[in-house]
Amino acid sequence: MLTIGDEPVYEVFARRVEGEPLRHVGSVAAPGDALARVYARSIYDEESWIEMYVVPRRAIIPVDDVRDEAVDAHA
């Protein structure tokens, strides 16, 4: 487990209504999936989302190789 201040970033996605595409709403830094869920729920509470997801940034694969370095730096 990582020490405080060194947590990986999770991207947060959510949907307001049925049929609406998932949209990227922001990101949180958390030591694990469980706290990432808690943090996403408390930080991005401006809407009554019907669904919300957290995705480890390292799990998001850049399609264009050029972006690799920028993404890795924040994962």
């Binding site: 487990m1 020490t3 405080i4 201040g5 947590e7 949180v28 830094a29 958390a30 030591p31 694990g32 469980a34 706290l35 869920r37 808690v38 943090y39 729920r41 408390s42 930080i43 509470d45």
Partner: protein, 265 residues
Amino acid sequence: MPDLFGTPVPMSTPLLDRPSALPGECRAPLVDLIVALADNKHALGIRYAEWCSSGPTIEAGVAATAMAQDELGHARVLYGLLEELPGAPRRSEHEWSAADARTVRFVEAPFQSWPHLIVANLMVDRSLAMVLETALESRYLPLRHRARKIIEEERYHAIHGQSWVAQLAVEGADVRARLAEAVESVWDETLCWFGPPDGGALRPLVDAGVLAGAGDPVRTRFAAEVGPALAAAGVPAPVHGAGARWELARPLPWNAWNEPARRIR
């Protein structure tokens, strides 16, 4: 929802949809329980809020803020329940007085450190939630409806407490020692909160189906949840695993327990 406590409440028993339907012997213990639940939640909300801008990370501070809002909201919802009950003291979040509040000692003063907040989250917050979980199928509908709304939010508080204990445990021996010290100071009052072995003053509420359980059955559930979490984090606590059961390693101070105020004298 399965009956977690094996308490037989006949399906044919009518629901209690208003205060006047409550059996007479249930009123005083229900009022005492609601006042203590709400006062503890109000105090916990204030304590969480003091860490809004000083958590170890920005995310942690925001989560503490959200939990503070939840707890203050739960207190308000529970104070609303008192307004309907004859003979209940007048309480509201606007007239709240710490001197008069029926709270456990651990939430009476600001938390000394983030590990203290996390222990309050893991122990005090969770024990209050576990008592409210016994009302999820309550025959007293005003309580059932409020308990369901509260428990929905409490799921995230439980995840927060468990995750943070694990996170703090890897920060080093001094942080674990601080966690252990906080656990020790809150232990007896938290474990007494579920009531004496047979439920004590809460027994009439269990018999009437207002609560699904009290006393030892609820305490056993709590020990089986908090015991493994503390053991995995390497935090010493007076509880040990015995197979699937987790048992308390020392007796609770029942001679000092103030049942109506739900606190140790």
